[in-house]
């Protein structure tokens, strides 16, 4: 190999440019992880969903039977409904609350601003189980913290309510727990988004005679659209996949009132040992989330065309 100065870098492979070779080299662990921890599970789930696998070594191909059974299974429908109810309630409340908090915090001169930020983030860094133990006692009828607060304000009739054992109340109780635990995170993200909006937009509008509310509605909100979409999608995907808060507060009950999809999945496999069926449910669950994410991406693309 000659080594004249005019020759290209000796590390350059004649066919594969150096950048590609090394780029792929550095990126390779992620490709490996992606294959092993995402592609492989999805493929496996797809594979088993087409069989009648239970838990032992035998699995015979049954085509789309599991999917057909799932779609007419009232328990799967109930799990989807329960997920939809809980997620809708929690995400809507969380996002609105987070936005409001961000607006309130968007004032650097406010003394104590940093303290408030820390306070609202505190629940976010804790784990679901430790706080779940606390919230179990918050909702304990007649003796818990919430009944205690009720008695403080004179609502004695409400002290006996079974928040986690009444099917109409349980989703609200779990939603409250989720809201408490996750709002702070999104508030911080919204706050960063708000900070990214140049102040002269709002100032110019005010000079033109717009009220604070008009400024918010017609300038701030549209500019926040991308961030809002990000928050809503993240909140949705996170909340719909939550297992812990439901597990800690109700375990899925009473009856099936809060048996959301993650619990349904876990139970179908780890309790009833119905592997093929559970895999099919997992695939449908994934598709549901993908559909939502794509829908949200659409909305986001639309917003750029305005």
């Amino acid at each position: 190999m000659s080594s004249s100065a005019s020759r290209a870098d000796p590390r350059e492979h004649p066919l594969i440019p150096r950048e590609t070779k090394y780029g792929l080299f550095f990126v390779s662990p992620s490709i490996l992880f992606f294959l092993v921890f995402w592609i492989a599970p999805v493929v496996l789930a797809l594979y088993y969903s087409l069989t009648n696998w239970k838990i032992g070594p035998n699995a015979t191909f049954v085509g789309l039977r599991n999917y057909a059974d799932l779609l007419i299974d009232p328990r799967f429908r109930q799990a989807t409904l329960a997920s939809a109810e809980l997620t809708g309630l929690a995400v809507a409340s969380t996002v609105l609350l987070a936005l409001g908090l961000a607006v309130l915090l968007n004032d650097d001169a406010l003394p104590g601003n940093r303290l408030f930020k820390v306070l609202i983030i505190l629940p976010v860094v804790t784990d679901w189980v430790a706080t779940g133990l606390v919230w179990q006692l918050v909702f304990l009828p007649n003796r818990g913290v919430l009944p205690g607060l009720f008695s403080l304000v004179g609502l004695r009739a409400w002290m006996g309510l079974g928040w986690t054992s009444t099917s109409s109340l349980a989703p609200m109780a779990i939603a409250l727990f989720i809201i408490w635990k996750t709002t702070g995170l999104y508030a911080i993200i919204f706050l960063a988004g708000l900070k990214g909006i140049p102040r002269h937009f709002a100032e110019a509008a005010v000079v033109d005679g717009a009220t604070g509310w008009q400024v918010f509605q017609q300038i701030t909100l549209p500019l926040l659209r991308p961030i809002s979409v990000f928050v809503v999608v993240t909140a949705f995907v996170t909340t719909v996949g939550l297992f812990e808060p439901v597990f800690m507060l109700t375990g899925g009950g009473p009856a099936d009132a809060t048996r959301v999809l993650p619990i349904f999945l876990y139970e179908t496999f780890f309790q009833f040992h119905n592997g093929g069926y559970a895999s099919a449910a997992g695939v449908l669950f994934l598709l549901l989330c993908l559909a939502f994410a794509f829908g949200a991406a659409r909305v986001m693309r639309y917003s750029f065309y305005e």
Partner: protein
Amino acid sequence: MHRLNVVASLLIAVAMLTTPAAAAMQPARTLEVWTHEFPPLQDAMTKKWIPEFEASHPGVKVKMTAIPFAGVVSFDAKLLAALSSGGGPDFWDMGDWNYRTFLDNNYLAPLDPKVFGYSSSRDMIDAYLPGTTDIFVRGGNLYGLFSESNTLALFYNLDMFDAAGIPALPSDRPVSWTQIQDIGAQLRRTDDNGAPTQIGYQFGFFANFRSAQWYAQNFYELMRQYGQDDLYIGGKPAAQTDAVRQALQVIYDFTFTSKAYDPTFLNNWFADFPQNRVAMVLAGTWMVPAMRANNPNVRFGVAPHPVVNPDDRSTYKNIQWSWGWSVNANKPSDQQQLSQEFLAFILGKNGESTQPAWWFSNLGYMQPSKSFLASGAYTEKLATDPWLKQWVDAYTTYDIGYVQHSYDEAGSALVRAIDRVVYEQVTPEESARLLQGELERLSS
């Protein structure tokens, strides 16, 4: 770069130091045992049996794990998952409802009669009351041996009865469910806000204790007393029958009509009764040490299991269940051998009655072993605690059987049917109709 190296090394050192000591002193042999969570059982193992076995078998270490069996983290599921992947403990105790599945999947090792001092499996089976070992037996071999065998009798709190002026219940004749509800209604007390401070009756399942086993047991005993043996008749779902409806109606009445039962008030299976918050509960002999741990001075009486009609012997139905010790068939044979030796050590070999006597007096765990029931240890214990007779008599007074569906999908459907009645006040007819639909879908 240098500082980063130092920091990284420090962190790695921290991680190393906190590594669970797997590399530490490894004993010669380790036995791994799983038990269902029942504090007296865990105490018995950790304070007596394991230390004694380790002392007499130097170089052997026994490691026990206790797993709760109510809730989503179910002991049975973990066990099955572990065994199906070729792992799991060396031996464990489990409920009778698992034996069929585990035997079908060949997870259990046949117990060697020689280790237990018998010359054959036949002899070993015959050492127990007829019929009691049925669920452990397949192909003439025993695959499990009793940790305990249970029927149910009615505990009632004498302090609460006396305070309300209610006379003690007869010990030779069962009362009816209606009478229980009447007493229960009389014993219900609330405070100024209408919140209950004490109630009359405890079903084995409640809001903070959703055990499928207890839902099934309390339901099946009612359904059988109304004349139907199982949720399936001739292999077909039979939930829209009078018997099922009537059984659900009893549960409904307890909750809403007489208000003898309150699922959100009950909190702790073993503390509510001895601490005078609930007056009556159906339980087994194991209840005594468990509740004495929460109130050593509890005063209680024991009456026979209530029936639908005390004048009609055909309604004298009771349920039984057993917890059995079993050995993992997928472990090396020397581990299996050691496991079986441990079981023989704690349960007693042919002719030994000290172990069954110990389990009985300390945990109320009964082995229906003929030699134990005829032994001096047993009759002495009976003299000091005559109410123990209720459980033994039950084998002759009542028609007893195992529950067919509790933890499987049919049992789960039953749990939902009862939840609908108790938490949503759905009528028994409606709940039974929905149950029938679910069972039919499961069979299709």
